[in-house]
Amino acid sequence: MTDIYEILRGQKDADGNYQKKKVIVQGITGKYGSTHAKLMLDYGTNIVAGVTPGKGGQIFEDKVPIYESVKEAVEATGAEISIVFVPAKFFLGAAKDALESGIKLLVAIPEHVPIRDAMEAIELAKKKDAIIIGPNTPGVIVPGLIKVGIMPATPFSTGKVAVLSKSGTLLYEISNNLTSAGFGQNITIGIGGDPVNGTRMIDAFDMVKDDPELEAMVIVGEIGGDSEEILAQHIIDTGFSKPIVGYIAGRQAPKEKRMGHAGAIVMGNYGSAESKISMFAKANIPVAKRPGEVAVLLAGKMNS
């Protein structure tokens, strides 16, 4: 499996610092893309190129050159990470451009990408041995080092807890609580709220679980699909022994209604909160009743 840590931070240098990996922003001149490109630059993310067809040759914010295609941007910079801000209906084209140009980590921000388009992009990513995070994800952040996403900076601090979350705002809320309680984060990954995810819960778990600096994990799930159940079974099977705490949103949601996220829907028992919570219980993962309780449960687990 492609090593997400290697892509995001590389190896430590002689002074013990990680590398500043290069990032491309697709859709950098759009309203959303430009706002977040600036915020990522502010965070210290090494944005080396933007892509907007028709605007090649221009410069973004006096420092980031804009190219016609990802192919050109990769040839010029050698970046392996790209973040996509294009409208949903253009996502598949943008993803193909990136994956066929050698991008190894594609962070897919757009919401409302058709499922078949996402599935096609994921198939291509598998062939190219690349990772897609999203669609409909807030992105990924290694606090203090690199932010490839739309998350605000303030909730996150450096540390040793990995947070994996389907929801964006719950990721911020819970990370903020963790930070306040003294649990900084080693990495946080937004899985995304869509029915089909480039990086599933189980993939994200496998990506982060072996990092020697990791001390604990927080899983923020929600109704819909069975990725939490499959992750719980995987945790049982692999015998992962570091503390894990969970939260599941949507316990009281009515059935067969989409609750904001395209993927947040219970059909029969498929995707229900009860099913997820009971599987977490089997895997010895306590589930908080409210977001604020996550840090408390984690503290309990860490001290036991």
Binding site: P114, I115, R116, I150, P152, N176, G225, E256, M259
Partner: protein, 368 residues
């Protein structure tokens, strides 16, 4: 979107999947005409976007005008699991030998379509026993695979042929209409050996709506939900009296859970989204002001990129324009929350540091 049975059957017919003769109506005048055209006996089937209608009495046999006049209004006025009747389907009774199950289903974890088939039909998908499951990538089913599935559920000769044909048509429907689920349940073998779709369920991918104008006539949204979509936020309308507003689907779901845990009944699930502006939040408040049953508004915001002051400004405008006079219980966290609290200090908005306290407040208000 989740299609009703009669809508799913319209798609079945379009793709050449056999269904019993049936006609749908929304009022008794049209219903009477349909009854005459179809001829007794037939079944009257309530059309609701939720399962379990058989058990709830939503499917009734009917063999005379008297029975029709009695049952049609009953079924038209019923509601199942909170869902009112959307339409009535009159359908000829089939002479059933055996019931099977067949669906093409998007397996989200495996990220591929799966065929699920069983020789025991008529029950909900999760209770289908002796399932035959096949993964079929993006949904294309070749003849060999279809034959193997037919054989595994015990079909031979003419029935195998009919099944293969039906499955391939269902596959075509799934791909062309971008369905997440296309289900024939029960798939009946009639006494004369014909295979027919007795009931159907189709769910399509809402994100693909932009390339399916032909499906938009099936789109069922309340006026409020339509307006919300236009303004760029997602709203689910429910029957309670507490309007729940927040940013981000996960945070709103979580707030919704806590309201229900504490005995409150949500009237909305309203996610103003990651790109909320003062205008969109004002729009949201306008929608809520039209919902007369709402007795309290609960706001839970985690300001990130969207500043909490942006939201506070919308409330100030709503008060100034006398748009809302319902009590508001708010918890604002994150970007500029101190300033937002200051802005709302002298308004009818009660501010709380913890969401639990805000919820207690709004539930007490709504249950007064």
């Amino acid at each position: 979107m989740r299609l009703l049975e009669y809508q799913a059957k319209e798609l079945f017919k379009e793709f050449g999947i056999k269904t019993p003769p049936s006609i749908s109506s929304k009022d008794i005048k049209k219903g009477r005409k349909d009854a005459k055209e179809l001829g007794y006996p037939f079944v009257i089937k309530v059309q609701v976007p939720v399962g379990g209608r058989g058990k709830a009495g939503g499917i009734q046999k009917c063999s005379s005008d008297d029975e029709f006049e009695l049952k049609y209004p009953q079924l038209l006025n019923m509601s199942i699991k909170g869902e009112k009747t959307r339409a009535i389907l009159l359908e000829k009774m089939a002479d059933i030998e055996k019931e099977l199950y067949l669906s093409l289903f998007l397996n989200r974890s495996k990220r591929c379509y799966t065929i699920i088939a069983s020789s025991e039909g008529g029950v909900e998908i999760e209770s289908v026993k002796n399932q035959t499951i096949r993964e079929v990538g993006l949904g294309d089913v070749d003849t060999q695979t279809a034959k193997e599935v037919a054989n595994e559920i015990g079909l031979k000769d003419s029935q195998e042929e009919q099944f293969v044909d039906m499955l391939q048509r269902l596959s075509k429907l799934t791909i062309e209409k971008e369905a997440e689920l296309a289900e024939i349940n029960p798939l009946a073998i009639l006494k004369d050996g014909t295979l027919i779709a007795l009931d159907g369920k189709v769910m399509t991918d809402d994100s693909s709506n932009f390339r399916h104008d032909e499906l938009q006539k099936y789109q069922e949204k309340s006026e409020l939900e339509k307006q919300a979509e236009k303004s760029g936020f997602s709203l689910v309308e429910l029957e309670g009296n507490i309007a729940v507003i927040g940013n981000g689907a996960g945070l709103v779901m979580s707030t919704f859970d806590l309201v229900s845990d504490n005995g409150g009944k949500p009237a909305t699930f309203l996610d103003v989204g990651g790109g909320a502006t003062t205008e969109t939040v004002y729009e949201a408040l306008t929608l809520i002001s039209k919902m007369k049953r709402v007795k309290g508004i609960l706001v839970n915001l985690y300001g990130g990129i969207v500043k909490t002051t942006t939201v506070a400004e919308a409330f100030i405008q709503a008060y100034n324009n006398n748009l809302i006079d319902i009590p508001v219980f708010a918890r604002l966290m994150g970007t500029e929350s101190e300033k937002a609290k200051e802005m709302l200090k002298d308004t009818k908005t009660k501010m709380f540091d913890s969401i639990e306290d805000a919820i207690n407040g709004v539930v007490m208000e709504a249950n007064k």
